[in-house]
């Protein structure tokens, strides 16, 4: 996907690129719950009901890749004294509808269940926004982070919105792009362009692991 980015060309660049440091960073995994990741519920169940399961193939592939990379990244983050926050959502849709039943299961999906640690933080928010929810804001404040590592799904909505909100609140943001899954490959490209620049930095899981382990000079 080729999109021009004139605004980003003149967006001020920080002197030092965002780099997560112990005690100053937190890793937020957005919407890693069954409703968005698992075959038998939530999004995929809705797609099956509608007869459009095939439409989610590219999303599913990205989820599998994101799960593999998060399984590698999370233990490394904890070793680097970077707390992990699992931010789930109580609503399946883009809009919060007071009359809509909440997602029944907000636990971390099966693909990531065994990389959850009891020391991790868990928040549930009503909509996409991470920072308008008091519980999520309190959890983030408790981490004393000035740099957020953001990952999860549906990245072109949740991680994109979280990144722009975080930047506007003064955070630096690091996005391990292959720990994110968007609704299609094209939307992942759009998401990548949308969050790229200034105080946000896109890296791969491999790069981030090296940075956190101190092996990347």
């Amino acid at each position: 996907m080729n999109l021009r980015t004139p605004y980003r060309m003149v967006d001020p660049i920080p002197d030092v690129p965002p780099r997560p440091e112990p005690g100053k960073a937190a890793l937020i995994v957005l919407d890693a719950q069954a409703a968005f990741w698992s075959d038998d519920t939530g999004l995929f169940a809705a797609a099956r009901d509608r007869g459009v399961t095939r439409e989610f193939d590219e999303y599913r592939e990205q989820l599998e890749r994101a799960a593999r990379n998060l399984r590698q990244l999370l233990p490394v983050a904890r070793e680097a004294q970077i707390p992990v926050v699992w931010a789930s959502r109580s609503s399946l849709g883009l809009a919060v509808d007071p009359g809509e039943p909440s997602i029944a299961d907000d636990a971390v999906c099966e693909a990531l269940a065994d990389v959850v640690d009891e020391q991790d933080c868990f928040v549930v928010r009503p909509g996409i926004s991470l920072f308008t929810d008091p519980g999520a804001r309190e959890a983030l404040a408790s981490t004393t982070a000035d740099t957020l590592i953001l990952a999860g799904a549906l990245a072109n909505f949740t991680v994109a919105v979280a990144t722009l909100e975080a930047l506007s609140l003064g955070y630096h943001v690091v996005i391990p792009i292959d720990c994110c899954a968007s609704e299609s490959v094209d939307w992942q490209d759009v998401f990548r362009l949308q969050v790229h620049g200034g105080r946000s930095r896109i890296v791969t899981t491999r790069e981030l692991v090296e940075i956190l382990r101190g092996s990347r000079t």
Binding site: R4, D11, D189
Partner: protein, 317 residues
């Protein structure tokens, strides 16, 4: 004084015979060999018959020479390049050096700089890919906001190989970091490192100057003596060609006419005529007429298309 020479895949030629040149393209490459882990590999060109057809269009538009900026590690095959050169009668210059970390061969990620220098010197003095076909350009790539880690080691190897052989240097900044580097291009970092290593900037081509251009930085490159290469001409998601024209005119007004290079960095089927793209001839067919329409005379155009590439690609004495 002996005339300057340029190293092509069919042997060294006098620089004066290079002709109209595209100093940064890809004609045989395979990004699938890279492991950047972040998305599908799209820079794949493996059909030499198709490339011959596309380069024939380039030749018909006046093109006489082309640099394939693909290095060892993502699909370079100098034997194929020589065959393409033979079939099209276009001079082809092959590239040695190192691309970005994700695309480095495994030895480049672990060997000390001395070993890397040996490898590069062998590629430009003895031959590449198990042949006696030699590379005529050394490439250094940066894909991070800082010139660090293995990319820094490889950049130093490139600098030292240049000092030993005189083969000129070309640089790459990954578009993915263009918003994290002041000015948008790692050229400033490259020039600083190269000068530390004793390289004369007159033998350095700063590549991808027109992805996230800043005239202040381009002026700096030119003032330091390096070549300023607009090599993604036609890729208007980076920059409109109209903006490129304005930047070229600005550099001409500043007196840097002998340091500007033009190319289009074709690297995938969708950019070629067969794939619905603008082809290797886009600079000659579409961009040069725009320059003419903005008052650039034939003498200056000859500098940009012939004289400057010949100087940039010449082996340093």
């Amino acid at each position: 004084m002996r005339e300057a020479r340029i190293r092509t895949v069919r042997g060294d030629i006098p620089a004066s015979t290079l002709g109209v040149a595209a100093p940064h393209e890809h004609i045989f490459c395979d990004q699938r060999l890279c492991d950047d882990g972040a998305g599908p590999a799209v820079m794949v060109l493996r059909d030499s018959d198709l490339i011959v057809d596309e380069l024939t269009l380039f030749a018909n538009a006046g093109g006489q020479a082309i640099v394939d900026a693909t290095v060892f590690g993502w699909g370079r095959d100098v034997g194929v390049l020589a065959s393409i050169s033979e079939r099209t009668r276009i001079h082809v210059i092959a590239c040695s050096g190192f691309y970005t970390e994700a695309c480095m061969p495994s030895f480049a990620r672990r060997e000390p700089v001395e070993q890397l220098v040996e490898f590069l010197v062998r590629e430009v003095e003895v031959g590449c890919d198990g042949t006696d076909i030699r590379a005529g350009l050394l490439k250094s790539g940066v894909s991070s906001p800082r010139l660090e880690g293995r990319e820094e080691v490889c950049a130093r190897a490139v600098a030292r190989a240049h000092r030993l052989t005189g083969i000129p240097i070309t640089t790459h900044t990954s578009g993915s970091v263009r918003f994290h580097i002041p000015g948008g291009n790692a050229g400033s970092m490259h020039l600083q490192l190269f000068e530390e290593e004793g390289v004369d900037p007159a033998h350095v081509i700063i590549g991808h100057c027109d992805e996230n251009a800043d005239i202040r930085q381009l002026r700096e490159f030119a003032s330091r003596g390096a070549f300023v290469q607009f090599d993604v001409v036609g890729k208007e998601h980076w920059l409109l060609d109209a903006t490129r024209i304005a930047l070229v005119l600005a550099l001409l007004d500043l007196g840097h006419e002998r340091q500007i290079l033009l190319s289009s960095d074709r690297n995938r089927l969708s950019e070629l005529h067969a794939g619905g793209g603008r082809g290797y001839d886009h600079v000659l067919t579409n961009f040069v007429p725009l320059l003419r329409s903005r008052g650039v005379d034939e003498e200056t155009l000859k500098l940009l298309l012939v004289t400057n590439p010949a100087a940039a690609l010449s082996i340093a004495a």
